[in-house]
Amino acid sequence: MTALTRLGRVRAEWTAALMARFIAWFALAGCAGSAINYWWQGSETVPRGFIVSGLLILIAGIALLWRWRASRDRVALALWIEGRAPALQYALLTRAEGASDSMVDVLEAQIARVPFERLVRPAIWRPLVPLVATVVVATVLMRTMPQWASLRRTGAVRIYGPSEGRAPSTARSALATVRITVAPPPYTRLRTASLTDAARVSAVVGSRVLVEGAAGDDAVIARLGTDPLSISTASTAWSATLRMPARPTLVTLSSGSRQRAVLLEPVIDSVPEIALRFPARDTVLRVAAGVVPLSAVVRDDFGVAAAWFEVVVSAGEGENFTFRTTTLARRTGLDMRTLTLSASLSLDSLALQPGDLVHVRAVARDGNTVTGPGQSGSDTRAIRIARENEYDSVAVDGAPPPDRLKGLLSQRMLIQLAEALEKRRRTLAREPFVQESQRIARDQNALRRQVGDIVFQRLEDLGAGGEHSHDDGHDHSLMTPAQLLAEAREATTQTGEALDFHGGESPVVAISRPLLEAYNAMWEAGSALSIGDPKSALPHMRAALDAIQRARFAERIYLRGRPKEIVVDLAKVRLAGKTDRIGPGARTARDDEDAPRLARLARFDAALARLASDRDAALLALLTLRAELLAAPGAAAAALGDAADLLRSGRDATDALIAARRALAGPAPVLRPVDAWSVHP
């Protein structure tokens, strides 16, 4: 092997060492860049670590290229070798410079005696040792970074940098860039908006959402929530069209190994908000006359389509009410976000009577043609016309009506029994027919006595006397049935102003008259039934029912004032307990009120733990969590949205994630100070 051949091998080894050093520098620059990204908290579009890495690689490359250029000069390389192998005595340098043929053999012999390759090899490879050592150390440190992160998390310092967990980019991925175009419904009059690579999209419910991107190596599969979403594919692009749903929903796109999620956040078109200005409060009027000004302010997020005042007049009391509904100042075909509605309510035109109630409220409807229209009403104001007997005090609580009135209405059942018996007249023998008729007669008489109790108990106060109930302590033998009937007839045949309630007479008489008629009719019916003639009894029974119905519609009398509060004697009641037909239901414990919050917190922590290893999956989990939180938007939902935006755009999301976790965890418990010993609670 000639000296020049050996020199060429040394040059090849030199070049290899240079290449190795360049690779080491490259790795070192990468480690340095990652470390800078790891520690540096910034919001640059291009992370600062990448810039530093690039500069380091550039400088190292230039320096090593310069060194490699020097090695191409054979004489300079020979001189460098002569410096490290003095035994050559410049024979190699002379040979490299092109010695004469006569000296070649001498020089070759001189060079052959010196193993200069072994002497220069340490000098060639030694600079690589510290570089490789540094790369090894940096690599070990990089592998231990997650442990650092977990330690630093407890200190609430920044946690994640944008370079972590970044999915490797695919040159021809269909999801490299996803563009979203939102076209709101026409009634909102909002403009079409476009977004690129967004993590979430907010739009009015019903908006047309177009998701599109460039075609890639793999087909795109899309899902809206759990439902598949059809994809339109062209030669250079793909697209999917959908309507903004009413609930927060995730659109998940996958292509090959790449996955992307977009959270659709619906903006709900709220119903109109109405504030009733006038009347400002409920009112009691002595006289139903005059004009009441009405005014309301209506606001809507996208526009009020129609608005009006609704007036409901309720008349009656107790169990009997009648209602009239009318509208005022109806305005339609509007397209205004704020509207002041005004009108005048003439009380004279409503023909109100004492005791009537006028309910006034404003009602409005928006122009939502997608999920609406939404309609809402204002608070209701009540205008009440006082009764004459309330003039001394209109703030009187009414007591409930007497319970006995409820029992009177079984007259209808007696009629049905009598009708049924009459139909069976031909098929029944005379004796059972009469027995059945007499049984109905007994019920009819019992009912008549109840009516008598009510009627004559009232008339007694007016001096009319009457039949007494069987348990009121009076001597019933004082009045015969004939006398009672005469009293009833006399009472029911009275006419004129004496029974005119509106003429100032006590309402007791007016109310009792139909009951007295019922009493008379029941008497006749009972007599006919007792002799087995239901056919003759039925007209009287129906007349009695009609009279009772009239009594129902008559004005009722209420005891004044609040009834005495009933205190149940629990011990007494429990001693009389019954246990028949009891089927105890299975008891299930309710969820802890705090359980949902803790569950969300655990899911957030799990997503955070996955962020370093699987960024897309973590982002999907965070967006899913935000979708649930949007049911009741708060600080946590807002922070999660910010974090998703930052993570999707490759920026630092640490602050947003910390804010989200704090919001999810809730406020810190406040400890009450210890009470002073001497203070009585």
Partner: protein
């Protein structure tokens, strides 16, 4: 453990106190048939007040149109979200009346969904006493009072499978509005369904 307190809801519109004896009657029945620790008198809670959250069951009735104020709506929504049970009874015993229409609309605005019929197989009808045929009929329905109809079922709104609102237009408020001492005159206690309401509210 604090005793169960029967709560009557006081709302701004309408005659919320039209059935003053119902609470005592239900309390009497709860004490009579169960071992539930129950307070001897009921309580009244304004619908807009946070006091409402102290009661697992709230009873609302009346004759007149129901219009909740904004604060009342908000508190009722909170009450239902916290797991409270609102029992609403139309004291009119009619159908499609003003109380019915206005109250249904208000409840739908609070819950965000219309009320739906409660099937006869619902655990409500087996929470304590067994009502094979669903909600018991009132005497008013049977004797033709008011609309002359027997209303087939109650209506409800559920949250997580549990009834949060029970709406009745059977007029239990009239049926149960008597002094509990008079219960001894009844062959069958007509307030037993009230016990089911209480037990359901406390155990579901």
């Amino acid at each position: 453990m604090t005793p169960f307190v029967f709560c009557t809801v006081q709302y701004e519109s309408g005659d919320w106190d039209s059935a003053p004896s119902v609470p005592a009657n239900i309390i009497d029945s709860v004490a009579r048939y169960t071992s539930i620790d129950v307070a001897p008198t009921g309580a009244i809670a304004p619908l807009a007040s946070r006091d409402l959250l102290r009661f697992p069951l709230a009873y609302l009735t009346g004759h007149l149109p129901v219009r909740f104020a904004a604060a009342e709506r908000a508190m009722l929504r909170t009450y239902l979200e916290r797991g409270g049970l609102l029992f609403v009874d139309d004291h009119n015993h009619d159908i499609d009346g003003q109380f019915h229409k206005s109250c249904i609309a208000e409840l739908a605005a609070v819950t965000g969904a219309p009320l739906t019929p409660i099937p006869n197989s619902d655990p409500l009808y087996r929470a304590f006493f067994v009502f094979e045929d669903g909600a018991p009929n009132t005497s008013h329905e049977l004797n033709g009072w008011g609309d002359n109809l027997v209303h087939p079922s109650l209506f409800g709104w559920r949250r997580n499978g549990r009834l949060g609102v029970i709406y009745s237009n059977k007029d239990y408020s009239s049926e149960w509005n008597y002094h509990p001492d008079n219960k001894r005159f009844l062959a069958v206690d007509n307030t037993r369904f009230g016990v089911n309401l209480v037990v359901y509210a406390l155990t579901r």
